[in-house]
């Protein structure tokens, strides 16, 4: 059971910061959170209809992430306003769906997805997380150069003839995949933190985009393993412990960088 949970947590600790590096550079640090709220509507819909909630959450999350991207790209709404529209509609729909099955009160089953539980994930679930992780990693590694060009300078990329629209849609769909894959492990409310916090630490240490990506992945994996162990030792929620470890790493790196900027920066 511990092995299963460890595998699932480390996998999420690796692929969440991987996509997060591109989202942070695109100034969409909170998109994972917004997509998570839409995924919650999917959980409610799944419970209501009797379909496995992971499928319905994935469907809702993909639609939500692509919707946010389309609103943003067409400049119909700013990035954060587009997020807010989906964010609140999603959580409200989730509340309505999840209470409909339980006589007006939020169904307890749905709350499991809010904070996750790596120990509750069976081998099938772990394999699904690992498979999704391999697909996400391969996709990001294949697209990383064009993704980098687009997230750093979208206007230039468009004029230069790079496939800006399709790549942004792929990034949105993969973000939805990461949220849903991480949802059962660390929870809808915390998965977005694993996309952003390791990147926040890594960009203080690394001196290149490539370096930031791999440092964030390393921090994410270590935080996931350490957090899982700490959660077990102190009998607290593993998801919460993992994110707190990532937050502590950031605090330590930020303070260390402030007091010894040269040594951390590695000179030239």
């Amino acid at each position: 059971m511990m092995m299963r949970a460890l595998l699932a947590c480390v996998a999420v600790g690796i692929f969440a910061p991987m996509i997060g590096t591109f989202l942070v550079q695109k100034r969409l640090s909170l998109v994972g959170d917004g997509v998570g709220h839409v995924a919650f509507a999917g959980i409610g819909a799944g419970l209501l209809t009797g379909i496995w909630p992971v499928w319905t959450a994935l469907a809702f999350a993909v639609v939500g992430a692509v919707g946010v991207e389309l609103l943003r790209a067409k400049k119909k709404a700013s990035g954060d306003l587009a997020l807010a529209l989906f964010f609140y509609t999603g959580i409200a729909l989730g509340a309505v769906f999840a209470s409909r099955i339980n006589g007006g009160k939020i169904d307890f089953e749905s709350t499991k997805y809010l904070f996750g539980d790596p120990y509750a994930v069976g081998w099938g679930g772990v394999l699904a997380v690992l498979a999704l992780g391999v697909i996400i990693t391969a996709g990001i590694l294949g697209l990383r150069k064009v993704l980098f060009a687009i997230v750093t300078d979208e206007d230039w990329a468009r004029v230069s003839g790079l496939p800006v629209g399709p790549t942004n849609l792929v990034l949105a769909a993969v973000t939805a995949g990461v949220v849903v894959a991480g949802m059962r492990v660390v929870g809808i409310l915390l998965i977005a933190a694993l996309m952003v916090l390791p990147v926040a630490s890594a960009q203080l240490i690394a001196r290149s985009f490539r370096g930031t990506l791999w440092t964030a992945v390393a921090i994410g994996a270590v935080a996931a393993a350490t957090g899982l162990g700490a959660g077990r030792a102190f009998r607290v929620s593993p998801g919460g412990a993992i994110v707190l470890v990532a937050a502590v790493v950031f605090a330590v790196v930020a303070v260390a960088k402030r007091t010894a900027p040269r040594s951390l920066a590695g000179g030239q």
Binding site: D153, G161, V199, S208, F209, T212
Partner: protein
């Protein structure tokens, strides 16, 4: 200052094929308010053209129409002889945006930025080849940033950063380079480097350059034509002819911007 009649310019000999960029009677506006009207403009291979105009004269809008971001509402635009939406060989067009939207959050090295300039040419899904790396190195050298290739771009000065974005455009060895106000607030050394690298591109590769800028003093002697825009084209001709009307591009740096303000 009155409106200057457009002098009839003799058609220049065109070294290879037709013009790189051609706008014919182009009009564009937002919400039915016209911003540019009846604008005609060409850039030929080997030609160095400056586009100037007061703030709000429609320079940015014209540039967006020329680059195919907006479709013209009147007239037509040709890039390399084709309409912008049919123009596939985008790497032949180098573009240096006005203020690159670089998030300072995530570090990226100068080399990573410049290498992005090769993506379209080789196919973004392919790994980089030795030829790509050589082109990136050459582009960095031509703007004098070879020593700083591994430095995070946000540690560089404004002028150095701008040169990195010029190198990104150079990396695809463009036949036409379009620069949107690239030297605003850039130090003298960077301006000289900037001038040298543009002249190098024009002379060595026969490329055409369209430079949108108010600061023309560094390149005044190298320009083939100056186009003055204020909704319409007020002047299109060699700098000497503009100078004959009392407007100086080089000697007194303030002359051009002041004169442009007077056009309002």
């Amino acid at each position: 200052m009155g409106i200057i009649p457009i002098p009839t310019v003799e058609p220049r000999p065109q070294p290879q094929g037709g013009p790189l960029l051609e706008a014919v009677h182009v009009g564009f506006g937002y919400n039915r308010t016209p911003v540019i009207e009846d604008v005609s403009l060409t850039v030929n291979p080997g030609e160095f053209v400056a586009l100037v105009g007061p703030n709000g004269s429609g320079k940015s809008t014209l540039l967006k129409v020329l680059l195919g971001v907006f479709a013209p509402q009147a007239g037509s635009v040709r890039l390399f002889g084709r309409s912008p939406e049919d123009f596939q060989e985008r790497w032949r067009l180098g573009y240096v945006p006005q203020r690159p939207t670089l998030a300072s959050e995530v570090p990226a090295t100068v080399e990573e930025i410049v290498a992005a300039g090769r993506l379209k040419q080789r196919g973004w899904w392919r790994p980089s080849s030795p030829a790509d790396r050589e082109a990136v190195r050459h582009a960095l050298e031509s703007v004098g940033l070879a020593e700083m290739a591994g430095r995070p771009i946000n540690e560089l000065s404004g002028g150095q950063q701008q040169r990195a974005f010029i190198a990104r455009a150079f990396a695809s060895e463009p036949s036409l380079l379009v620069l949107d106000e690239p030297v605003a607030g850039v130090d003298g050394e960077s301006q000289h480097r900037f001038r040298d690298s543009l002249v190098h591109l024009i002379h060595e590769h026969g490329s055409g350059v369209l430079l949108v800028s108010h600061e023309l003093s560094a390149v005044a002697k190298d320009l083939d034509r100056v186009v003055v825009l204020k909704g319409k084209v007020l002047f299109d001709g060699p700098p000497d002819e503009l100078a004959a009307t009392g407007v100086s591009l080089g000697i007194h740096r303030e002359d051009l911007p002041l004169w442009l303000e007077g056009l309002r």
